[in-house]
Symmetry: C2
């Protein structure tokens, strides 16, 4: 990925893992604010989040926050800059396809509104779900996706269907002109290079836990 | 992390991102098997999964699979070695705490059984849920966690509670002797260094999508 990002200054290239860590920093920093702390040190953050403290310092340099000797980082400043960086005040609209338990959980996930994501409609093939609402989000039949999209274009399509349907749904919404796909199905999807694809893989988390539980003895057969 | 893993041979150190990619490779490879392909090339995998093809070659070297000139990798061999590496035939038991939509979705997630994860019981504070079953998984009151744990020790505790409860639940199950915590709440949890903690953060995925949608103009204020 880095190869395709033009860069003269080394520090203008933002590594993907850094971007992924910002929400974790933010959640931790907000928990400190409640305790009336003003400053926090990189080693203190490192301890809870299990991230190397030099990595934390490096990550914070990307959002133009520098620590002060002996006291550390100003929490308010960090929170402010991370929220700006993550576009909390720059909301994006999304449609979600697949209103099973995971789809319902995502619509109900109360962090999204403050993080600048609005799931404005849901889609399913189950006629019993069509016409109902999850909180205030109305559920439509998937065959009406294009019509809805033309009426209210959104940038993000969230796929929470079973694996077998993920690619067909992706093809459909790409044809409508969706810019980004957030894929929660277990199956990777192919898409033209112009479409942003983000896979949130539950399986990757499990792989990591199992590897750590077996640490030192990865089960490799020749 | 790498610093703490003792290593003489460079190739014996397994980077975390490599481990996290294996389930993605596996899912893609299995989709090819249905089409009666025997071999697959790194560039073909690269195209669908949007992973650099030299990275793929490197990842596969960790599981002792080398490609053949012109034909690529034998799909069956890759599938076999990745499944072994990920411990698909080495099942781990888990308890899940927080039986909301996400908790229910995870219990119903039909990949886990083939991936070697058995969620054998659920826990909640909601008395209406206690005593019910999600598929065949019985739901108990959280106050009975210790009793259940002593009767049937599990290695993994999956936390799907709201953020505010995550740390309290973590403390409780760590005291019981849980080895690994899989945290799906939005809040990071602190745990002793001896306990494995894996955060599956939905917010990180959103951060990545929003950053890509705003590509080239990250919202950094001075």
């Amino acid at each position: 990925m880095n190869k395709t990002i033009p860069s003269r200054k080394k520090h203008s290239v933002l590594p993907a893992p850094t971007i992924r860590r910002f929400p974790l920093y933010l959640s931790f920093l907000k928990s400190l604010k409640g305790k009336e702390n003003v400053y926090v040190s990189a080693p203190d953050i490192a301890k809870t989040l299990r991230i190397d403290s030099t990595q934390i310092t490096k990550d914070f340099s990307f959002i133009k926050v520098a620590g002060k000797t002996k006291v550390g980082y100003e929490i308010n400043k960090l929170v402010q800059n991370i929220e700006k960086f993550l576009g909390y005040r720059d909301p994006k609209k999304a449609f979600i396809i697949g209103i099973g338990n995971l789809g319902t959980a995502l619509i109900k996930y109360n962090q999204f509104s403050q993080e600048g994501l609005e799931i404005i409609a849901g889609f399913d093939i189950d006629t019993e779900k069509v016409g109902t609402r999850v909180i205030s989000t109305k559920i439509y039949h998937i065959k009406n996706f294009k019509k809805r999209f033309n009426e209210t274009p959104v940038e993000i399509g969230i796929i929470t269907t079973p694996s077998e349907q993920a690619q067909i749904i992706a093809d459909t919404i790409i044809e409508c002109g969706i810019k980004a796909i957030w894929n929660f199905s277990a199956s990777p999807i192919s898409a033209p290079g112009t479409v942003i694809v983000e896979n949130t893989s539950i399986d990757s988390g499990l792989a990591m836990i199992k590897w750590k539980l077996n640490a030192g003895r990865p089960l490799i057969y020749k």
